[in-house]
């Protein structure tokens, strides 16, 4: 039987491509693994703990500055990994590297066992979904259409039948069902952020890469988003989420990776990683970590007022101290 071209979006294109492929049957396609393969390998569920993505010694230079200077991260199915660190530490760049976007100057990124560059864009789209830091849209599509765009990778597969259900579920999960028919451009910043998240959820990729999904959101919706991350992890997916709120990271992440100046300063369970000394060094501001009165979960509190001023003045110096704090690395 004749299978369909991977990139087909309309039936006409499918036929056209099938026909043209027929003309050159027997002639191998130039790039192995390239999207013209006539079948698409659809990901199957993996056991919890299986490695879905890993970065090994990843280096990235942007504008002459080394933004990532050799970072190792492993992302496993069934866990929420929070990337935290001060501004400019390389969190978003690491996320972009895991997504296959950043131009690496060194190191390797593997997704679902294969180097990220070996996947075609359509195949990669079935394996990882990415939420960008800010959502923009060139034309005023209605919200439901924007979320439906997340289903595009599945066009032409058997799972396409679930499109309507997935879109509805994503709209409901992010509490934007009520605005499904409104144009995206008419929404507030927080609403746009949730719609963008709904699009990423609807994609149903086993690896979710979220760049500051809570930045524009109020308290209630911040908690909602992190709960959604937990739900997806419980369902066997892997979630990597860039966060600024260390309290959220402490409460919801299985693992926290602390980045500072392009390096990994720590990587482990929140209770191990979120320590006074380390955070004070990394953020160059005194931080206290206290156990929550009920339950004992770590509460991260920046020291404020006079005490803070005194501490910063006497405070920690830069790079050397961070390295000292970071050791031993995991």
């Amino acid at each position: 039987m004749r299978a369909q071209c991977v990139r087909c979006v309309t039936r006409a294109e499918c036929r056209l491509r099938a026909w043209t492929a027929g003309l050159v049957r027997g002639v191998p396609f130039p790039r192995p693994g390239a999207p013209r393969a006539r079948r698409r390998v659809v990901p199957v569920p993996v056991a919890p703990g299986a490695v879905l993505a890993e970065a090994r010694g990843v280096r990235v230079r942007l504008g002459g500055r080394e933004v990532l200077a050799g970072v190792d991260v492993t992302v496993r199915a069934g866990e929420v990994l929070a990337l935290v660190g001060p501004n400019g530490a390389g969190k978003s760049t690491l996320l972009a590297a895991l997504a296959g976007d950043a131009d690496r100057t060194g190191g390797e990124v593997r997704i679902a066992g294969r180097p990220v560059g070996a996947w075609s864009a359509p195949e990669l789209a079935l394996r990882r979904a990415v939420l960008p830091q800010s959502a923009s849209l060139a034309f005023p599509f209605p919200v439901a259409e924007v979320v439906r765009m997340g289903r595009a990778p599945w066009a032409g597969t058997e799972r396409e039948e679930r499109d309507d259900a997935e879109v509805a579920a994503a709209l409901a999960a992010t509490e934007v069902s009520a605005m499904a028919d409104r144009p995206f451009s008419a929404l507030s910043g927080g609403e746009r952020a949730r719609v963008a998240l709904a699009r990423v959820l609807a994609q149903r990729a086993p690896l979710l890469l979220l760049d500051e999904p809570t930045a524009a959101l109020d308290l209630r919706h911040q908690e909602l988003v992190l709960r959604l991350c937990r739900e997806r992890a419980a369902a066997g997916d892997a979630v990597v989420v860039v966060l600024h709120d260390l309290g959220l990271a402490a409460a919801y992440a299985d693992r926290v990776a602390v980045l500072a100046q392009g390096r990994l300063a720590a990587d482990g369970p929140p209770a191990e990683v979120l320590r006074d000394e380390l955070l004070s060094e990394v953020y160059r501001h005194p931080v206290e970590v206290l156990p929550h009165p009920a339950g004992g979960a770590p509460l991260v509190v920046p020291v404020r007022g006079l005490a803070a001023m005194r501490k910063t003045e006497a405070g920690p110096s830069t790079a050397g101290a961070i390295k000292a704090a970071a050791l031993p690395r995991r």
Binding site: F29, A121, A152
Partner: protein, 372 residues
Amino acid sequence: MTAAGTRAPEADAVGEDFPVKCVRPPRSSARGRAAWVLTAGMAAALVALALLSAGLGAYDIPLGDVLAAVRHRVGLGGHGLDRTAESVLFDIRLPRVVLAVLVGASLGCAGTLMQGVFGNPLAEPGVIGISAGAAVGAVGAIALGLSFAGNWTVTVCAFAAGLATVLLVYAMSRDGGRTEVVTLILTGIAVNAFAGALIGLFIFFADNAQITQIAFWQLGSLSQATWPKVLAVLPCALAGLLAAPLYARRLDLLALGERPARHLGVEVERLRRALILVVALLTASAVAVAGIITFVGLLVPHLLRMAAGPGHRFLVPGSALGGALVLVAGDLAARTVAIPAELPLGVLTALIGSPFFFWLLRRTRRRQGGWA
């Protein structure tokens, strides 16, 4: 027979291979209905206007006679007309109407594609200088007396120059995957100025007969329509018009931005290259026969977007249909408002299109809160 050879062995660990079937998803209801109503309405209006345009003019032919003569020609009954009427209808009016349809469809469609690629509703082949670039090729071919491709020489030159211009504009106006409105418009000004200078240079070197011919490019008109001209642009325009709808879905995704589109499986670079080629094809075919006709590619997609939403699956074919409709109507007006004189079509579309462009600029600025 399929991908077995091209799959990496590791893929087995993470994937399962099953035949992919081709199913088209259901359309959304209200928007879909609006699109169908619009399509039907525009198609009906186009047919009516085309018939009207074939009959009206300095030499009036009644509608009944037009229908009868056309049916007679294709062998479906009807009856012939007298020699003058036959000649006016088949040698002058019909090629002109067909050309208006082709040129209008090309311009409307090119406008939509352009706006989709740049992610910017102000992009249009005329505004950003692609039409002028293609005209340089056409004028150059005339002034230098080129004839290496026979009847198709002017089209080929217009295509080559148009393609070069699109690439230039694209390279100059994009930065970090985005096109700022200001950069785009300024690039258009620069390209238009340069193209104008080149056309001036060709005029300087041309003889009188060539100058008359060249003057026609600059105004934009369909008055020299003949069947050979229709044939000269037909392949270009048809190829572009048939290819364009294949990219509709991916253009929708491109509205999210380049990276998000790539995250959803669009091979952005490849898509962009293909679309630029299609835009050059469409613009060149329009410019090669009709000169520079601006604003059709701006006005039509905008009105349709307001009526039926920004989804490209309707917008791409819809703007071709709408462009054809606007140009047939425009040409009819150009021919008949000042009988026996004839307004240049390009002048007419610019007269109507410029205020619209002005309004659009104001609205874009208001939305962005300044150009920054």
